[in-house]
């Protein structure tokens, strides 16, 4: 059974700080690892990673995958209050898409 563990479960930082969110996984027949940002209800797609060691970047957000150690990190630099959300990690494998419970990130002004 595919499994995704995210840490920390919640995180409170001040505006301007840099945060690193972690996602470790177990999967049969790895296809992809995805990151989503969930504000209120709808998850918004951030990144899809399929290859180790290749950083994906979008503005202040970046992510990288390590397929040997079975984890990914999501970095957010110069955080803003609008970054407050639940960040979901999902793994695509033989079981389809399996989601972690998310990291609840709170950015304090």
């Amino acid at each position: 059974e595919d499994k995704v563990v995210q840490s920390p479960l919640s995180l409170v930082v001040h505006e301007g700080d840099t945060v690193t969110l972690n996602c470790s996984y177990e999967v049969t027949n790895f296809r992809s690892l995805l990151w989503y940002k969930q504000e209120k209800k709808a998850p918004t797609f951030l990144f899809m990673l399929t290859s180790s060691g290749i950083e994906k970047k979008s503005g202040r957000l970046s992510s990288i995958l390590d397929k040997k150690e079975l984890f990914s990190i999501l970095n957010i630099t110069a955080t803003q209050t609008g970054d407050s959300a639940v960040y979901l990690c999902a793994i695509g494998g033989a079981d389809g898409l399996t989601f972690g419970k998310g990291t609840h990130l709170i950015i304090q002004p």
């Binding site: 995805l34 209800k41 999902a90 998310g102």
Partner: protein
């Protein structure tokens, strides 16, 4: 990516009643899925909505409780039947664009509260 419209956005229902959630996509998509997210939990796949045939349900979910329709490639409905407070959840429609390994995109979700 496709624009996914889901309604209602939220509802409060009495136990024993049923609610139908609609999902409309602005383009034809091959794969449509229905997810549930219970409070404090991760997203759980309920079923894959198949165009022109019966939905494919995941373990723990059955057609009598969650009947699904998919009459065409742009529309699907999920009904939550004979509701109980345990059905209080966010229900999410999602689509994949059909390319191999393409990411899922989600509708705006329906927050259901059963009293």
């Amino acid at each position: 990516s496709a624009v996914i419209s889901q309604k209602p956005s939220r509802d409060i229902c009495q136990r024993g009643t049923s609610l139908t959630i609609q999902c409309q996509v602005d383009s034809q998509v091959t794969m449509m899925f229905w997810y549930r997210q219970q409070p404090g939990q991760s997203l759980t796949l309920i079923a894959t909505a198949n165009q022109g045939s019966e939905a494919t349900y995941e373990s723990g979910f059955v057609i009598d409780k969650f009947p699904i329709s998919r009459p065409n490639l742009t529309f699907s409905t999920l009904t939550v039947s004979n509701m109980s407070p345990e059905d209080s959840s966010i229900y999410l429609c999602s689509v994949a664009e059909g390319r191999y390994n393409s990411p899922l995109h989600f509708g705006n979700g329906t927050r259901l509260t059963v009293t």
